[in-house]
């Protein structure tokens, strides 16, 4: 996928300027390019006197190349015009003024290229004018995953939740995201459509209610379906992806064995009697499971019925009645009824943040002094491999008239600390006691005393500029600036159309600078993955206040 700026430049130039026609044009899905085999049908003005032109083209299925009928084509040029393509997939807008127009194409069951970028919808640019040529637009057919689920007696399993997960890269790190879900019908069938191409992981279960599976229910001891990742396991890391190419309809059939369901019970202490306690079981992948739990606040006892065997973390949360929260996390292995689990709720921790700014330039003093202004924003990111990254952001607190930042209600655990300056500053140091948070994770112990995070920011920032090229031809790309500090998130910035870039407000130090075509496909926070690309990277050492200049060669992701 090309970054937007490339597409822009490419289309603009290729449609307007003759010489660029010689460039080998990539086939761009969902976008416009000249229909060279049909140059005789080049559009001429309807009426040259008032300079009105037509825009003609067709829409095809990106997979089969077949023309697509009934596609909604919309042109935005001094207003909006819309029409549906005819049986031959063609469209023609008349009476358009000369200029650049944006075209969007839509049809149920298809994606435009930019549908995969949530902020935009399949749209492209085309030119209308005396020499404009017909355009061909492509739509990508959706994928579908469907199938049915039976138990080992061949009886369909009704009412079982089925979900699709995708693994994507977020800041160069792998993260799980839940995409869509369904519930099996009375015949055990499920169906999930409107899937963009990609790799999907399918989970089925857990059954919410053992009654759904009467054949397996007997006294004593109910049975039910645990959470299973396709094809068989309870471990997400060992699950097999279902690869969905454009237009693919994948049939996934399961036979699932009901397993004994167990009861987890015990006591909770440390809660405020007037407040409710919420209980949650997470599986080993950190995914919260929808099991009913019951808590008797008068007796302090809880139980969770119908838990399939497995390894879990039992999490309890409750307000303390004074505006703060209490929390507990107990690891559990369930392979029989578990009783006598003791959950001790402990106060969460509030961590104050102290920030200082060392200024050397004129004009930046204000970043250290302004009232109610904080030179940086701090986030804690929970270290887990679970579905969603849990983040805790710093909050403003006002005490005796002075305001400061604080991280509130932080549960004991290990966190990555992200410090994002809000001005032209960089983080020189971030310390928690003797822990250097630029290099190490923050470990919050249960009931620990409120020790502050001390952050020092400076304004003697460095900057870096340059140009990206491939085979001596400049081209647009995305720059990654990877700091020597282990915990720092790499800086990512697209170049302009001519490959030029400018990275500002960099912290002095050593960087590996890399230009890539598809940063969204590169797990750049993983040193193992990144190593393969380092031969194309440039290493620079930036001094305070330095403006450095380097040229880079494009590294193609996946090659």
């Amino acid at each position: 996928m090309l970054p937007r700026t490339v597409l822009f430049a490419l289309l603009t130039t290729s449609l307007l300027a003759e010489p660029y026609f010689e460039l080998p044009l990539p086939v761009i899905v969902g976008s416009v390019y000249p229909e060279t085999h049909d140059s005789s049908s080049l559009v001429s003005p309807q009426n040259s006197n008032d300079d009105k032109y037509s825009l003609r083209g067709s829409v095809v299925n990106s997979l089969t190349g077949e023309p697509l009928r009934g596609v909604l084509v919309q042109v935005y040029l001094n207003g909006q015009s819309s029409m549906l393509t005819g049986p031959d997939g063609r469209f023609q807008f008349d009476n358009l003024p000369a200029g650049q127009s944006t075209i969007t194409v839509r049809k149920p069951g298809f994606f435009g290229e930019d549908d995969f970028q949530p902020s935009e919808r399949g749209q492209s640019l085309a030119a209308t004018g005396p020499n404009s040529s017909p355009v061909v637009l492509k739509l990508i057919p959706e994928g579908v995953i469907y199938g049915h689920i039976i138990d080992d007696d061949g009886e369909p399993i009704e009412g079982l939740p089925v979900e699709l997960l995708v693994q994507h890269l977020q800041n160069g790190r792998k993260a799980w995201e839940q995409r869509t879900g369904a519930v099996t019908d009375e015949e055990g069938n499920f169906r999930m459509a409107e899937l963009p191409p990609g790799n999907y992981f399918l989970s089925a279960g857990p059954s919410r209610n053992p009654v759904t599976f009467p054949a397996k229910l007997a006294q004593p001891g109910a049975q039910g379906i645990p959470l299973v990742y396709y094809p068989t396991g309870s471990d997400l890391a060992a699950a097999a992806p279902i690869s969905i190419a454009p237009g693919k309809k994948a049939e996934i059939n399961f036979t699932l064995s009901p397993q004994p369901l167990y009861r987890v019970s015990g006591t909770i202490s440390g809660y405020s009697p007037s407040e409710s306690v919420s209980l949650l079981l997470r599986n080993s992948a950190g995914i919260p499971l929808a099991y009913n739990s019951r808590f008797d606040s008068a007796r302090g006892s809880f139980h969770i019925p119908w838990v399939p065997p497995g390894a879990y973390t039992l999490e309890a949360d409750a307000p303390d009645g004074h505006g703060h929260s209490l929390t507990a996390a107990v690891p559990l292995t369930v392979n029989a009824d578990v009783s006598g689990v003791h959950v001790i709720l402990l106060p969460t921790v509030n961590i104050p943040i102290r920030m200082s700014v060392i200024t050397s330039r004129t004009g930046t003093e204000r970043f250290g002094e302004q009232e109610n202004y904080f030179p940086a924003y701090v986030q804690l990111v929970a270290r887990n491999d679970g579905l969603s990254e849990r983040r805790y952001g710093s909050q403003q607190v006002v005490e005796t008239g002075a305001s400061s930042l604080e991280l509130q209600n932080i549960a004991p655990g290990i966190y990555r600390v992200e410090v994002n300056p809000t001005g032209p500053l960089y983080v020189q140091s971030a310390m928690f006691g003797t822990t250097n948070l630029l290099e190490s994770d923050l470990s919050v112990a249960p009931g620990s005393s409120p020790q502050p995070i001390e952050i020092t920011l400076r304004d003697d920032v460095a900057s870096l500029s340059g140009t990206v090229s491939l085979d001596n031809r400049p081209l647009s790309a995305t720059i990654l600036a990877i700091s020597e500090h282990a915990s720092a998130t790499p800086r990512m910035q697209p170049t302009d159309a001519a490959g030029g870039f400018q990275l500002s407000f960099l912290s002095p130090g050593m960087y590996k600078i890399l230009a890539v075509d598809h940063p969204d496909r590169l797990e750049y926070s993983n040193p193992e993955i990144l190593r393969k690309y380092l031969s194309k990277a440039r290493e620079v050492v930036l001094l305070p206040d330095q403006s450095a200049k380097i040229d880079l060669e494009l590294a193609k992701v996946g090659e």
């Binding site: 009934g70 919309q74 959706e142 009375e186 169906r191 009654v211």
Partner: protein, 560 residues
């Protein structure tokens, strides 16, 4: 007995606690301290035994106590459909069963009544025949005018139900079509159904049709583009469609389902031009907001919001589009601070029509006061209900501690309305009085567009009737018990009903003091009992009872 909890709760309750393990080896007692409940689950139509059915046993008492759901046991039927609960202490139990492909049901369920099983010395609780009805289904495919599937369409299922002794057609389920335009309603009870579809052409482009010139400038808020020629063929909507080929419920084809039937109802949607209507709304000040919506009343309990597009052309002037030509309700929502008022008026939607809702007379508002004759205060939960005699539509509103209530959220059409006290249950209406409306019994008449003020005179001290239904001197389980007021016509709120339990016993709660006829009718569950002419012929065979405030009466009644 009457079970007020949802059936789903009965199934769920079972699992909050393991079943008590029966005593390991009880010393052979002379009179057993525990009993058995046993029987066979069968297909109610074919008589075929049903294996793999879950039968759930719940004590009847905890049902009225929401805080103790820790009860319930479950057994699964064997290949012969047989189930048995051993070690059951004496008491009254509700039995329910579910099986894939069948409708969840309580034992001998009729509406929300069941025959409870009485367990104890001399009680018959074994060899029960538990008939389950196979679920029927309706499914179908939706295509558009090009025969492409319509995905994400709203499909509504209406059931011609027999509730409150009257036939009514109610919305019972709503699903969306999938990517293949397919929908499916499963586990349906036998009966008469209607299917309707609300969908929009996915390609529809409405735009705005009208332009407003103000101070020589085009007012075009929100960057709206005027329609051009090409867009007009896309300025279309699908009117609500009823199976098959009808535009409303009266014209719809009923789908009659028997147990296990699989009916198909396919739709091909045809686009019609979308109308563009100008709506003048009242000028608002800065802390007010005005919104316009279009609704269509489809069935007794169902008003559907049409996917209308509303564009403000200028302050106080909106263009409403995305609706077909026809008569619809235009709803004006006005927000004043945190309060929201809704006003609805029926309008004819057609192109370029101008609807002025600024000066339309507001429909009458019913308000009043609830007075308890001993002057006691009302609980916070106090609620009263208005029920329109014509449509059966009802509206609830809260009553303040001092008795005031107002239906200002529910503007009413002229007609006859009945008032009921929903909460507290121990309170009954003795009479209504009003200076602004004609009252009769518990009903009143809205004749004009003037607001109506009603005083409800209420008393505490509902009575209770328990008893046993006998057939040829033997207790009769499963019969319909009806307590009918002497005047069958004007007081539907006075009727009480129950179903006799396995020992023939029944209980009628919250009986308003007065004179009644108590009836026990075998196979009475299909009777249109709210129709006086239907019930009249049973009156002579009933027992006459007089209930005084707070009185508990025991009555035996012969089954007819």
């Amino acid at each position: 007995m009457l079970v007020q909890k949802l059936l789903a709760v009965l199934f769920l309750m079972t699992f909050f606690q393991r079943a008590p393990v029966p005593p390991a080896s009880p010393p052979a007692p002379v009179t057993p301290s525990t009993f058995r409940i046993s029987g066979r689950v069968m297909d109610a139509i074919t008589g075929q035994p049903l294996a793999r059915a879950s039968v759930v046993l719940n004590p009847s008492n905890p049902l009225n106590n929401p805080n103790s759901p820790d009860s319930g046991r479950v057994e699964v039927t064997d290949a012969e459909g047989v189930f048995a609960f051993a070690g059951v202490p004496p008491g009254k139990y509700v039995l329910s069963a579910r099986r894939r492909g069948y409708i969840d049901q309580m034992y001998q369920q009729h509406e929300s009544f069941t025959t409870a099983i009485i367990v104890g010395p001399g009680c018959e609780s074994e060899n029960l025949i538990f008939g389950l009805r196979a679920g029927a289904s309706i499914s179908g495919d939706l295509v558009d005018e090009s025969d492409d599937p319509i995905r994400h369409a709203d499909v509504m299922l209406y059931h011609q139900l027999f509730t409150g002794g009257k036939r009514r057609t109610l919305l019972v389920r709503r699903v969306n079509t999938n990517d293949e335009g397919h929908y499916h309603f499963s586990a349906l009870s036998p009966g008469t159904y209607f299917v309707a579809v609300l969908a929009q052409p996915w390609y529809a482009q409405h735009g705005v049709r009208h332009h407003v010139k103000q101070e020589n400038q085009d007012v075009n808020e929100g960057g709206l583009q005027p329609l051009n020629e090409q867009n007009q063929s896309l300025d279309v909507v699908y009117p609500i469609a009823f199976y098959s080929n009808a535009s409303d419920l009266p014209g719809a084809a009923p789908i009659a389902l028997r147990s296990g039937d699989l009916a198909i109802a396919d739709f091909r949607m045809r686009p019609v031009p979308a109308m563009h209507v100008l709506v003048k709304t009242p000028a608002t000040d800065s802390n007010q907001g005005t919104g316009v919506a279009v609704t269509q009343t489809v069935a007794d309990n169902d008003t559907i919001f049409l996917p209308a597009q509303v564009n403000q052309l200028a302050p106080g002037l909106m263009e409403v589009t995305g609706v077909p030509q026809g008569r619809f309700n235009l709803v004006l929502n006005t927000q004043h601070g945190n309060a929201m008022t809704h006003r609805s008026q029926s309008v004819q939607i057609q192109n370029d029509a101008e609807v002025d809702v600024t000066r339309s007379t507001s429909p009458p508002v019913v308000s009043g006061v609830l007075r308890v004759d001993d002057g006691s205060p009302l609980p916070q939960s106090a609620r009263v209900r208005l029920r329109s005699s014509a449509a059966g539509e009802f509206f609830d509103t809260a009553v303040s501690g001092t008795g005031e209530f107002s239906f200002k959220e529910n503007p009413l059409e002229p007609g006859n309305y009945e008032i009921m006290i929903i909460e507290p249950q121990g309170l009954f209406i003795r009479s209504l009085s009003s200076a602004t409306a004609k009252t009769s019994g518990r009903s009143f008449e809205i004749a004009t567009s003037h607001d109506v003020s009603i005083t409800i005179n209420a008393s505490k001290g509902n009575g209770r009737i328990t008893g046993v239904a006998f057939k040829k001197d033997k207790p009769a389980p499963g019969v319909m018990i009806v307590l009918a007021p002497l005047d069958l016509k004007s007081n539907p709120a006075l009727f009480r009903r129950d179903q006799s339990d396995s020992d023939g016993s029944f209980a009628l709660h919250f009986v308003v003091p007065g004179r009644y006829t108590l009836l026990a009718i075998e196979d009475g569950w299909d009777l249109e009992w709210a129709d006086p002419s239907v019930l009249q012929r049973y009156i002579a065979g009933g027992e006459s009872v007089q209930i005084a405030p707070n009185q508990e009466t025991e009555v035996s009644v012969k089954v007819q």
